[in-house]
Amino acid sequence: MIESILNNPDFVIIAVGTLVGIASSIVGSFLVLRKASMLSDAMSHSILLGIVAVYFLTGNQNSPFFLIGAAAVGVLTVVLTESLAQTKRVNYDAAIGLVYPFLFAIAVLLINIFVRNVHIDVDAALLGEIGLSWLDTQQLFGIEVPSSLIKMTIITVLNLAFVGLFYKELKLATFDSGLAATLGFRPGILYYALLSLTSLTAVAAFDAVGAILVVAFIIVPPAAAYLLTDKLFNMLAIGSVIAFLSSLLGYGSAVLLDVSISGMMALWTGVFFTLCLLFSPSYGLIAQSFRFKQQKVVNAQRTLLIHLFHHEDDENREEENALPALQSHLRWTAANSREIVMDCLDDGLITKQADSDQLFLTEKGRIWAREVLEPWQHS
């Protein structure tokens, strides 16, 4: 029963995709918050060199040594980038763009020279082959289990454990690394531990989703989640949910259209990101532009109220606090002033006789005006 589920291709592909997604977006959340997202792009490219190098040295693609060795090259990329930036000769982003293409180019060249017939294929390395993830199995407690499922489960548990154990420290180091350092938490070591896990995740996810698409899983779900929430825990949770849904929908639509599965999964993360970007109630573009318009109306209302308040006891009251004055003195268009007067009438801020153009403040309108003019009395 369990065995048949664990060897059902549909289940395995979706499960591997989900695990890659969750493992990636958990570490990715911290990279996005630390404004270091592009480091994951750099690492995921240059681990190809690690994979090639370890393959040459050991000739074996399945040992844990392989994972660690390749991940080390990912971390090396970061070390090289940071030390290049520290010379002050090169900007940080330029340093990223110098280091990883160099390492990647060496990797491609090595493959060109030495392994033309061996099955490290650059295209496969870049694109991954999650569709085959259920084929390669091994015995676990007497049950045949796909290796990629085991591998990604271990990595996911590792990432969850790391973030769970060091949650407070990571939070502090991410949002205030200066304070974390003063309190003796060594944010640098935490950061490198995080980057090491990111690199390890990228290596493990390599044969499933490929070097470039793993970047989608590291960056996009956390970025989408960041548009929805201000809480770190929620960001991790929402990112994981998006990763799961993307795997599910990605697999379904890929089968339907007969196209790349991992590509479709990554594309779905992009769909969710677009949805969040547009419709997030707190930070979405639509909510923003709505709030912007609303703020414009409130500002115009306040301007009108303050104008009326100023001239309430004026000798020119009749001329100033009348409809025509809004056009001649405040330079509003006729349509605009009519609209704002209507808004103020609706909100009960002013009153107006039906047959006259005179405007009067209500008590509420007076309070609004004073709130702006005398903020110290209303704070």
Binding site: M38, G97, V122, L213, A216, S260, M265
Partner: protein, 378 residues
């Protein structure tokens, strides 16, 4: 020699070399502005993101042709750039996340389209994958011609808009105060980065294109200070890397050209970083070392002066072993340096004792001068 000449006049090799030279020139020139505006990784983003453009062009035209491919890449690259700008300006995400999101999702779309095309069983689809890492062998003379015209247009645009580009690259706020439409020019400069990428797609592919935009500019920046010289030198370095990589790859069949060009460019960067006059890391390291030695020498000299003063004897012989133990290290080389300057001389000593030194009159005066300068500086 004959072999070399026949090699260089080989039709295919000449094509690739010309193409690579053009790529180097255009990406050197356009990359300079991107690097100065701290938008190095925008090129990386646009290069990855232009993949769906390549595929769409193929789907529309139905065959792999240079001009539609370049147009597709240019249009989709520009859309990607616009999306990055939109995300940065209108959401709470920062540049890095915006670039990462656009890079990976556009690339994913490209991969999906690639596999979709692959399933169509169209004979002309062969080699679309080569846009990932480039494929120099597939370059035709007509492609090189096209690259030439695009390079010409790009360089012409840079010349015409030189002043605006320069001001915006160094101080966009000031440019705005001069009444220059900064946003328009920034969009134009971004579109030109997309243009440079388009030129390089066939040769180095989308993955390694970032390096071609960044490396020549960064290398050139080490040698010169003015923008004029930097752009020229970046073009030269780009051309060198392109030609070097193309020739190296032609030496043995099966060598991908793109990675070799990138490695050449990286080597130029390394040489520049270490050996460029003034900014070179090597000179900085030498200067630091010399400084350290000077400081140590001055320290030892003034300490010996103080010892002599303590004993009210300008010719007081000091045992080197004692000074060594004071510093916790052997100071033989420092002493030798001091002697060479004529600031101390070795003195006679009892056979069972270690070597002794005595300050010379010059050394005594030098120590006084150093101490006086120190007081002045305070």
């Amino acid at each position: 020699m004959d072999a070399l000449i026949s090699f260089l006049t080989d039709f295919n090799v000449r094509n690739v070399v010309f193409g690579a030279a053009l790529l180097g020139i255009s990406s050197g020139v356009l990359g300079s502005f991107a690097v100065l505006r701290r938008q190095s990784l925008l090129g990386d983003t646009l290069a990855h993101a232009s993949l769906p453009g390549v595929c769409l062009a193929f789907l529309i035209v139905g065959a792999r042709q240079a001009l539609p491919t370049m147009l597709g890449a240019l249009v989709v690259g520009s859309i990607a750039a616009f999306t990055v700008l939109l995300i940065i300006r209108r959401s709470r995400l920062k540049t890095d996340a915006a670039q990462g999101v656009v890079l990976s999702t556009f690339f994913a779309l490209g991969i999906v389209l690639l596999t979709y095309i692959g399933n169509q069983n169209n004979a002309g689809q062969a080699g679309l994958e080569s846009f990932l890492l480039g494929q120099a062998a597939s370059i035709m003379p007509s492609d090189v011609q096209l690259m030439f015209y695009i390079t010409l247009i790009a360089c012409g645009l840079v010349l015409v808009m030189w002043k605006a580009f320069k001001v915006i690259s160094f101080d966009p706020g000031f440019a705005a105060s001069l009444g220059i439409p900064v946003l328009t020019f920034e969009l134009l400069m971004t579109a030109m980065v997309a243009l440079a990428i388009v030129i390089g797609l066939q040769l180095v592919g989308v993955v390694l294109m970032a390096s071609m935009l960044i490396a020549p500019a960064v290398a050139a920046r080490q040698w010169v200070k003015s923008l004029e010289l930097m752009v020229l030198l970046a073009a030269l370095f780009g051309m060198l890397a392109g030609v070097g990589g193309a020739i190296l790859s032609a030496l043995r069949s099966g060598f991908a050209t793109g990675p070799l060009i990138v490695i050449c460019a990286s080597i130029i960067v390394m040489v520049s970083l270490f050996f460029a006059p003034e900014r070179g890391l090597l000179w900085a390291a030498i200067a630091r070392r010399r400084n350290n030695i000077n400081l140590r020498t001055q320290q030892v000299l003034t300490d010996m002066y103080h010892i002599a003063e303590e004993h009210n004897d300008a010719n007081y012989p000091i045992e080197i072993g004692m000074v060594n133990s004071l510093y916790g290290m052997r100071l033989d080389s420092v002493m030798a340096g001091l002697e060479k300057q004529g600031w101390l001389r070795y003195d006679k000593h009892m056979p069972e004792e270690g070597r002794h030194v005595v300050l010379t009159t010059n050394g005594y005066q030098e120590a006084e001068r150093i101490l006086r300068d120190m007081v002045k500086r305070d």
